[in-house]
């Protein structure tokens, strides 16, 4: 059964055309990243201090995966939706389900096949990153693998959304529209976070996949982010399963959809509350210095922070991506409260005198600060715990500046804009050519 479903996905022109177009998108992101990295590296090569800033994870992997995110978001829903909706267009949906005898098995084989199609651009991204190594670039295996793993989870989520749309819609056209709208909705969530007028929508950011991709792109394997992506994928699959039940009508179907919504919210929301994260970046550079992190883990009392900063405040973003992320790696149980997020009425948005202050609690003791520096906050935590700040030294990240020019740049261009898209097109032609051959 799986071989049949794989053939339906991998012998379809739309799959390979999508893969070729996606390869161009991912390749373009890669070329831009290489050029920018090269431009900065020219001056950094003569300055050791500057060269430390040249982090291939930040400068090459993330922009490439940005292209992959766009490609997966645009083409993944179509591949997922088609896997099921094509059976409706062909009037074989009910017959196939009766033949298989179980909506779960039907969905499992469709899902695996659709993921194989959606993951093709992901393989393209892997090939491009390998070409970075071939031109002499540095990639740390652990952090790159974690970033790629996060995007594979995203591909699974997008595929599941497509499958749900395919199962619930009447045909491929309707399913494709629905699936793309669902993904566009997650982009709307991302966009809404930036508007202070819509600050009450800020909590919705927790329901955007891009929020949960961020830790992976920093080389951190984060259980909460993994949990959300897995839970949301499972939730979407439950929608798809309910949609496959062609024998459910009226109230039963409505009840199944309401139940699916609950499962989606509970699975994604519940698994998001998992705690635990592992910094797999090279030299664990996204963690606190080793001695401080180890000592912080040993503190018997759970540190708490009250942060009086708005979502759209750049200091808060800096705090969340740096100090809080590092503190959470050492203390997954760190409790953080943002009072501005709790306001309900628009008039409460006005900033009071306490705005900008952070209060650190350890047990019954507390101290206020306006600093968002990780060292300052860690120092306060230890002082409140009655301990000295441990050794703050950390291995120096050397940085890996690289100038890619001449023949090596031409190779990058050829792989990104020609070889990879053409490879997908060639494979597509080979696998989908419909000449009639009789035995």
């Amino acid at each position: 059964m799986l071989r049949r479903e794989l053939a339906i996905v991998l012998a379809a022109r739309i799959t390979w055309l999508s893969a070729a177009a996606a390869a161009l998108l991912v390749g373009h992101g890669f070329v831009l990243a290489v050029d920018l990295f090269t431009a900065g590296s020219r001056s950094a090569l003569s300055n050791a201090l500057m060269s430390r800033e040249f982090d291939p994870l930040l400068g090459i992997v993330r922009p490439t995966l940005g292209g992959l995110y766009l490609a997966t978001s645009l083409f993944g829903p179509l591949i997922g939706a088609r896997a099921i909706a094509i059976e409706k267009d062909r009037r074989t949906f009910a017959a196939r389900l009766l033949a298989v005898g179980s909506a779960g098995r039907f969905l499992a084989s469709k899902g695996v096949a659709a993921l194989a199609g959606t993951a093709l651009p992901w393989l393209g991204a892997v090939a491009l990153l390998e070409s970075w190594r071939l031109v002499g670039g540095h990639l740390a295996v652990g952090e790159t693998a974690v970033a790629l793993f996060g995007h594979l989870l995203y591909a699974a989520f997008v595929t599941a959304v497509g499958l749900a749309a395919g199962a619930l819609a009447r045909g491929f056209a309707q399913a494709a529209t629905g699936a793309l709208l669902a993904i566009a909705f997650t982009w709307a969530i991302d966009a809404a976070e930036g508007f202070s007028a819509l600050a009450w929508l800020g909590g919705a950011a927790a329901w955007s996949p891009s929020t949960h991709l961020r830790p992976f792109e920093q080389g951190t394997f984060d259980l909460a982010a993994t949990g959300w992506l897995v839970g949301a994928t499972l939730g979407a699959l439950v929608f798809a399963w309910a949609g496959c039940r062609f024998d459910w009508h009226g109230r039963r179907r409505a009840g199944a959809l309401v139940g699916s919504s609950l499962v989606f919210v509970l699975a994604a929301g519940g698994l998001r509350s998992l705690t635990g994260a592992w910094d797999l970046s090279e030299l664990r550079r996204h963690s606190l210095p080793p001695a401080a992190a180890a000592e912080l883990r040993r503190l018997p009392e759970r540190p708490r922070l009250v942060v009086n900063l708005d979502r759209e405040d750049s200091r808060r973003r800096q705090l969340e991506s740096d100090a809080l992320a590092r503190l959470r790696l050492a203390r997954p149980d760190l409790a953080v409260r943002f009072p501005p997020d709790e306001r309900r009425a628009p008039e409460a948005i006005e900033r009071d005198d306490g705005y900008g202050r952070l209060t650190v609690f350890v047990g019954e003791r507390s101290r206020e600060t306006t600093s968002i520096s990780r060292r300052e906050l860690t120092t306060i935590i230890f002082e409140l715990a009655g301990r000295p700040l441990p050794d703050w030294s950390a291995p120096e990240y050397p940085g890996y500046p690289l100038v890619v020019e001449g023949g090596r740049r031409r190779m990058v261009l050829a792989v990104s804009y020609l070889a990879l898209p053409l490879l997908f097109l060639f494979l597509g032609v080979a696998l989908t050519t419909g000449r009639r051959r009789l035995t």
Binding site: R3, R91, D247, L438, T439
Partner: protein, 245 residues
């Protein structure tokens, strides 16, 4: 209607669509090894009857029994019933050989089907490149190879030329001889005649006659040898005459 063990029974089936009743209290029984042909003008409710039997459309009234038990779950229906829709198309991307390799419970029967439907020479062709008749033969293979106790086939004969029709009718007979009950909708009267089956005639969502062709001829007063088409027209006129103004 008495419950018959081992039969597929559609009891008093009514279906509403868009606020209108498109099937109204239709009952059909299919015994193992029996072929029942459902005929009727366009819009009579033939396809809807089959869809109601597998629950693709909700029932406004009535029930579907297999072996005297109401079918409630998808798994129960799947164990008992195979289905082929009227305008179904095979998976065009897949090679015929791959579709023929899908596991069936009886490999010998699958090989016989492949030979009878003359699919062997098409093994390396993609399904999308086949002719309409070949695609239909492939779909028939997929439906018949799974060997469910009952098969619901919606207009399975419409695309075949007279010679192919002879083979397909013989195949349906062979399927019935294996104990499978077939409920087949047919648009062409000649096809229904060729099946030599029990016939159910639907008109405007209601069953207006049921029985073997000879019994239907007798009912409308036509002699032996009268074609089904004449019997059908006579029954429709009879129904129209008795219909309330």
């Amino acid at each position: 209607m008495a419950i018959v063990e081992g039969a597929l029974e559609l009891q008093e089936i009514s279906v509403d669509r868009g606020g209108a009743r498109v099937l109204d209290g239709v009952s059909v029984r299919v015994s193992p090894g029996e072929i029942v042909a459902v005929i009727g003008p366009n819009g009579a409710g033939k396809s809807t009857l089959l869809e109601a039997a597998i629950a693709v459309v909700p029932l406004a009234h009535g029930r579907v029994l297999v072996n005297g038990r109401a079918t409630r779950s998808l798994a129960e229906r799947a164990r008992a019933i195979g289905f082929l829709a009227a305008e179904a198309e095979p998976a065009g991307e897949v090679r015929v050989g791959r579709l023929l390799e899908e596991p069936g419970p009886d490999p010998a029967w699958a090989r016989e089907l492949e030979a009878r439907l003359r699919l062997g020479p098409l093994r390396s062709a993609r399904a999308a490149t086949l002719s309409r008749g070949e695609r239909r033969r492939l779909l028939l293979y997929e439906a018949l190879a799974r060997a469910r106790p009952f098969l619901l086939l919606d207009e399975p004969t419409g695309v075949f030329d007279p010679l192919q029709l002879v083979d397909v009718v013989a195949l349906f007979r062979a399927v019935a001889d294996r104990g499978t009950g077939l409920l087949v909708t047919v648009h062409q009267m000649s096809d229904a005649e060729a099946l030599r089956s029990r016939i159910v005639i639907l008109n405007r969502g209601r069953s207006i006659a049921e029985g073997p062709l000879e019994a239907l001829r007798e009912r409308v007063g036509l002699g032996a040898g009268a074609p089904l088409h004449d019997v059908f027209v006579a029954l429709l006129r009879e129904e129209k005459a008795h219909a309330p103004a």
